[in-house]
């Protein structure tokens, strides 16, 4: 139980006294204020200048608790295609959800109405997008509204939580997420908060929801007042943290704003939790607006904690984080978030390392184990993952009953994460087609080593025993950083003052950290350390180096024996210095000092620089990774020197070869390497025979690919644009001779009769009575090409 707060803040909002999850007011009941929202307020953080929007069925913008903080720029009506997100009112009050979520984030404080939002000074907007057909376009548009203006998008919806649905974002929505984290908030990345599923009663598993299971969303679950699992809660490995919500008999509930300017105590489910976290993140961003989308996830990992939350699967991973499939890293802590945020140093760039075991189909009888040993892509500095963040397993599984499967992943450190539990209601035979399961349970662990995927198949109902499931392929996708994301505070303190943003209150003392700075190290140094010693055991603890010093980030240097790719060895200063952008090896830092280039770039041998497109006369030689010269006769070539795509003057292209241009009536004979005469019917040609004509000689007509003196039967002669002589065109179908295009037949093939200058099959209909023929005539079917053979002759002959 948390110590009772000294209730320094009091608001006149009528439901304030009932907001047990924010403050203690009743000494006879337990305090459940461990989310530490009040202490964060007391430090001065209330969400000022932070913009949150709710993706839902709209928000009541004139609600007295929302009007003050309502922000039109953070709002849009995707369903109605206008700027007003007001919900559609109906007798059943179907569209209450967005307004309820919005109040939790940013209901105004001290206005004598209803409640107080977690970030009661934040801007709040609403994206109305659930009141209509929700398509990939609707979702993608909603996630991309004002990405540079909106900081936090909170969504409390998803695919059906019925225990049998496997569904996630479509291609556009996936792109919208990616664009959001890459470009949103002017490059810091949009923050997407998502409610994990409510399908607990249906045995659902939130790994089957591609939104909550995405690395781009912060997936939030719920706990009851006493720390029990609410009846609705789903388990899964992508949940990162938890808040209080309602969900157990005789326990207190959550208050919020309701439609028609009302208040409610009826809001429940994980929809309560996502907006609470969105509010807490708003406080955190107020403490440090420079946090990236990944910084926010790191902060949640580091500050959320299990407390009294009851789950039988709490475990400590190899990085020391306590984590559960019900609650992620535990209950959020607003005060810890703002305090950490103030002194936070942006984590190193995200790297992604993918690895796939040898591709062959494996049958899943009762269980199947498949392992991969990975170096975390240490061979490629751009992909190297040493310290883990999200881990994704993409599987292609064929299975007669999907719900019978359970999947676990075991990290090299021995941590086991359940990616999927059995789902009793899921009888689908679709299997998992490139479905991505995500886990945050290995956060902070090291990537290198043996990873094991365990698949268990336990039939819950009789199944045909001879039909086995198959694991066709799987890919391990590791996300993380190549270096420790958390530098010792002393280093940060000295070097990263840019990111330290003191809060509105006084800067806090950090006695523990100051003590840490004074500690002395007496152990052995790394073998690359020089004569001045070290202050720790690793290569980045050296005070000077034997060989070269490599800067891995602004504040992180390590000693190395050789400089890695992308660097050159400056022997004077004994430092690894960066090559020019795009160089893999170089002798200096300028663009013209490259010796070889990174993948996708080619060395221009004339300028010693790396370029992505070779100049004319050169081709991109993938083998030598340089621009090599095309054959002398080629003006341009593709992939090989002699594979020409354009020729120099005096040469013309024959296939992919440039050959000397020959005079009219001759062609270049490739075997004899000389100009030879065309067939007498050709003016120009590509070979000696009459089928090789390009243009016909005087007095000849072009018919198909030959030059003829007169058109063959079934052809008629006509002028053609761009051709000096006439051409022979084919008559209409079944004509033996004709006067021109269309219905101009003069003679028909055998088995056809000439009717109205068109050739109609001789066959007669046995059902062509008068009425039928009247229908054929009145609809003028015989004039329509598609119906021409439709008893026309019979009807014509019958008059």
């Amino acid at each position: 139980h948390a110590p009772r707060n000294q209730d320094l803040i009091h608001f006149n909002d009528p439901k304030w006294s009932n907001m047990w999850y924010i403050h203690c007011n009743n000494k006879s009941s337990r305090c459940r204020s461990e989310m530490n929202i009040l202490p964060a307020w007391q430090r001065g953080y209330t969400g000022k200048d932070v913009v949150v929007t709710i993706l839902d069925d709209g928000i009541e913008r004139n609600h007295p608790d929302l009007a003050q903080n309502y922000d039109q720029l953070a709002s849009y009506d995707v369903n109605g295609n206008d700027h007003d997100p007001t919900p559609r009112y109906d007798s059943r009050n179907e569209n209450i959800h967005g307004t309820r979520c919005a109040g939790e984030v940013a209901a105004a404080a001290n206005n004598s109405h209803c409640i107080v939002g977690v970030a009661y000074n934040a801007h709040i907007g609403g994206i109305r997008m659930l009141d209509g057909d929700v398509t990939d376009i609707v979702e993608a548009k909603s996630l991309g509204v004002q990405p540079d203006y909106i900081d936090i998008y909170s969504a409390s919806w998803g695919p059906r939580d019925d225990g049998k649905t496997v569904d996630g974002p479509g291609p556009l929505t996936k792109q919208a997420f990616e664009q959001g984290i890459k470009k949103g908030r002017k490059g810091l990345g949009s923050i997407f908060v998502w409610a994990s599923g409510n399908g607990g009663r249906q045995g659902d598993h939130c790994s089957c929801d591609g939104y909550t299971n995405s690395i781009y969303t912060i997936s939030i679950s719920s706990t009851t007042e006493n720390g029990n699992k609410p009846w609705y809660l789903e388990v899964c490995s992508s949940i990162i943290a938890t808040t209080y919500s309602s969900g157990e008999f005789k326990e207190r509930k959550i208050m919020t704003t309701d439609l028609r300017q009302c208040c409610t105590e009826g809001h429940t489910g994980t929809s309560v939790s996502a907006p609470i976290v969105a509010g807490i993140i708003a406080l955190t961003l107020e403490a440090n607006l420079l946090l990236t989308w990944r910084d926010v996830q790191h902060l949640l990992v580091n500050t959320s904690r299990p407390l009294h939350l009851k789950a039988d699967d709490w475990k400590t991973n190899a990085a020391g984080h306590r984590v559960s499939h019900l609650y992620g890293f535990g209950l959020v802590d607003a005060e810890a978030m703002v305090l950490e945020a103030r002194k936070w140093r942006t984590v190193p760039p995200q790297h992604t390392c993918s690895q796939m075991p040898e591709r062959h189909t494996r049958y899943i009888s009762r269980s199947l184990n498949s392992s991969i040993t990975t170096s975390g892509c240490s061979e490629d500095p751009e992909q190297h993952v040493d310290y883990l963040e999200h881990v994704v397993v993409k599987v292609l599984i064929v299975h007669p009953r999907r719900g019978d499967l359970e999947i676990n992943l075991i990290s090299p450190s021995g941590t086991r994460s359940q990616l999927l539990a059995k789902r009793l209601f899921d009888s689908s035979s679709e299997g998992f087609r490139n479905w991505e399961f995500m886990t945050i349970h290995f956060w902070g662990e090291r990537a290198e080593g043996l990873w094991s995927l365990e698949i268990t198949d336990s039939p819950s109902r009789p199944r045909r025993p001879e039909v086995l499931g198959k694991l066709k392929e799987w890919t391990l996708i590791l996300h993380g950083t190549s270096q420790n994301p958390y530098q010792p505070y002393s280093t940060q303190h000295h070097h990263s003052s840019l990111l330290e943003t003191p809060g509105p209150d006084e800067v806090l003392e950090e006695p523990e950290l100051q003590d840490e700075e004074k500690e002395e190290y007496n152990g052995p140094c790394h073998s690359e350390c020089g004569d001045q010693g070290c202050d720790g055991p690793d290569a980045d603890h050296c005070l000077n180096c034997i060989h070269f010093s490599l800067s891995r980030s602004k504040n992180d240097r390590a000693c190395v024996s050789h400089c890695p790719l992308g660097h050159y060895e400056d022997t004077v200063s004994r430092r690894c210095r960066r090559c020019h952008k795009g160089c893999e090896k170089c002798v200096g830092r300028s663009a013209g000092d490259c010796l070889s280039c990174r993948r996708g770039l080619y060395l221009n041998t004339l300028s010693s620089s790396c370029i992505d497109t070779c100049p004319p006369g050169y081709f991109a030689d993938n083998y030598q990774k340089q621009c090599s010269k095309c054959h002398d006769t080629c003006r341009r070539c593709l992939r090989y020197a002699d594979r020409c795509s354009a020729c120099n003057e005096g040469y013309s292209l024959a296939g992919v070869t440039c050959v000397p241009e020959c005079t009219n009536g001759t062609f270049f004979h490739l075997e004899e390497m000389m100009c030879k005469p065309c067939h007498s019917s050709c003016r120009t040609c590509t070979g000696p025979s009459e089928e090789k004509c390009i243009q016909c000689a005087e007095g000849y007509l072009q018919q198909e690919w030959r030059c003829v003196q007169t058109c063959s039967p079934g052809y008629y002669s006509e002028e053609a644009a761009g051709v000096p002589n006439n051409m022979c065109h084919r008559c209409e179908q079944n004509c033996l001779s004709c006067g021109g295009p269309g219905t101009t037949c003069t003679k028909c093939k055998d088995g056809y009769s000439l009717v109205s200058r068109t050739c109609i099959a001789n066959a007669s209909c046995n059902n062509a009575d008068e009425m039928f023929c009247d229908m054929v005539k009145s609809n003028r079917l015989c004039e329509k090409k598609l119906y021409r053979q439709f008893c026309c002759r019979t009807c014509m002959m019958n008059g």
């Binding site: 057909d133 929700v134 398509t135 993608a140 919208a176």
Partner: protein, 87 residues
């Protein structure tokens, strides 16, 4: 295409390079209305066809379907209504 329980709408997502003018031209060619770029996704446009059934269990074919074969169109997808549940 068979339904698989899907509901096909008369909205399309289309990727066309060459800007909004080009997208307008392609839309007009097959009887669509270009409702503009999809959020912040460059080259992705929201097309709407008023003469296609608003909600159908089959992807109905017609002259509008030729848009999928147009050389100016990199990718086009008829939009399916996705069941989404408030939590």
């Amino acid at each position: 295409a068979t339904g698989h329980g899907h509901v096909y709408t008369n909205h399309w997502a289309v990727r066309i390079t060459g800007g909004a003018e080009q997208a307008d031209k392609v839309a007009a060619k097959y009887g669509y209305r270009n409702l503009g770029q999809i959020g912040s996704l460059e080259d992705h446009y929201h097309f709407y066809h008023s003469r296609v059934v608003r909600r159908a269990t089959f992807s109905l074919k017609g002259p509008h379907s030729f848009i999928h074969m147009d050389p100016m169109v990199d990718w086009a997808q008829q939009q399916v209504a996705k069941p989404r549940v408030k939590r």
